[in-house]
Symmetry: C2
């Protein structure tokens, strides 16, 4: 049973990061001393120091010998905030350069989950592709798509790497009509972590979208993973008329806000690259 626990240094790191982000600690505040932190968390000072070193490397804190440890001034690297409907359009509208790398492309039997969602007969063949979308030189989404073979054959591998999948589907005569999507959270698997340049086991936003044509047949199964530090789903809600109903309705928000802070981005970006290389 032992062996799958998190190292203590990482636990302390997590707790402190949480306190800095949401725990009511403001920029410039003084953190408790290493000795005190060691006591609070029931670990040795050396372990606390490892956690603090990681936080310092990410630019969240400043440590000054003799003085103490302080919360860094511009610690919040705000993610790009975009509407839930169409990520790509929003990014382009923000004037960002996007690029795609095709990591895998094959035809195979449909996994049970996909066959179920697309309403295929079990084992029907599908086209599977894995792509990484790169925005402004940094990877930020890891896309796994499954498309029924009969539709997949209407476009080629290089086309998939250069054009949006939805456009390819429409070109082949499919009427893209309706979709269902779910948002969840997962830990980064080694493959996804490598592609997105984050640590294995870090948190990722998971989005699963199933697209149907006019007749209700599934035409695309998309499983997307996003870096939460680079992206967040945002929606505006308005209270629905009936009083006491206590319900919200989604509101079309004209354009998404670009939320990435200029100054801090480069710094955090570099720190992250180091982290990725260290193995």
């Amino acid at each position: 049973m032992v062996g799958v626990e998190l190292p203590k240094a990482r636990q302390v790191y997590l707790v402190l990061r949480e306190r800095i982000a949401n725990g009511g600690l403001n920029a410039g505040d003084t953190l408790p001393g290493e000795q005190a932190l060691a006591g609070e968390h029931n670990v040795s000072r050396v372990t606390v120091r490892r956690a603090l070193a990681e936080l310092e490397r990410e630019g969240l804190i400043d440590r000054r010998r003799g003085a103490g440890t302080f919360i860094a001034l511009q610690n919040a690297v705000k993610p790009v905030v975009a509407d839930l409907a169409d990520v790509l359009s929003n990014l382009i509208a923000m004037g960002r350069s996007t690029d795609v790398r095709l990591l895998a492309f094959s035809y195979q039997d449909a996994p049970a989950m996909v066959a179920d969602a697309l309403r295929l007969v079990k084992g029907e063949r599908v086209q599977r592709s894995v792509r990484v979308r790169i925005v402004d030189g940094e990877p930020f989404s890891y896309l796994t798509t499954h498309v029924p073979e009969r539709i997949g054959v209407t476009y080629t591998e290089p086309e998939l790497a250069s054009k949006p999948l939805l456009a390819l589907l429409e070109r082949s005569g499919v009427s893209v009509d309706r979709a269902t999507q779910e948002i969840s959270a997962v830990l980064a698997s080694p493959e996804a972590a490598a592609a997105l340049n984050v640590d294995i086991g870090s948190a990722l936003i998971a989005l699963t979208r199933v697209v149907y044509d006019g007749k209700g047949r599934g035409v695309e199964h998309l499983h997307a993973l996003y870096r939460p530090d680079r992206y967040a789903f945002r929606m505006d809600l308005a209270r629905t008329g009936r009083n006491g109903g206590r319900r919200w309705s989604p509101v079309e928000n004209g354009h998404a806000e670009a939320g990435t802070t200029k100054g801090s981005e480069t710094q955090a970006g570099n720190a992250r690259e180091e982290r990725g290389k260290r193995r």
Copy 2:
């Protein structure tokens, strides 16, 4: 720099769990032998066995001596899928029993992030509360709310533990009008992990909602953490008219589907409780 890495056993565990969930492995399939897995992942067989032991404890696989390791039949404990607008209403509509525990309640200076979102003067006092919502006996959301002091004083601590916050706000004359919410993913901090009965460092869905009154003043800042195995945000989208626009519009879905499988829930629930107790 060392000390915050994930143990190899946990990395292998993550990979295998990912493959079981989304990697095209179906129920009943045979996993590669421990020796083979050790080779694939460049770790020793002992390490692979630790990862497998964890998966077995969670009911995802069956191991039979002499025979092999198999994917458990009913492994997919589907989360409760609900609409993004109003979680609580959906749960009640599903006929589920919900309960609330109040973990913290205090008045304090507003953290920078909250003050910013609610458009308060920095350091203005706010009421902070931490609640855990329990559905069908299992904790599934961890809510941290900040409300401006002038509004917070209109209700009492026990009221907060028994009535929805939005109802309390309206009772005090606040016109709840508009909200913005963002969905992201975070790792479970020790506090959240303990409250939600999951492992430290597991992935959680993070939702931040800021509610405004008719005059655009912030009246509530909600930070919610959900267990992804118990919950997922779902939305239905329809293609917007203009052809080539390639945009989606949210669709009101009348009622959310209850997605929890009866049989598997108890089993997985028990496994999880064990996990929570082991420390």
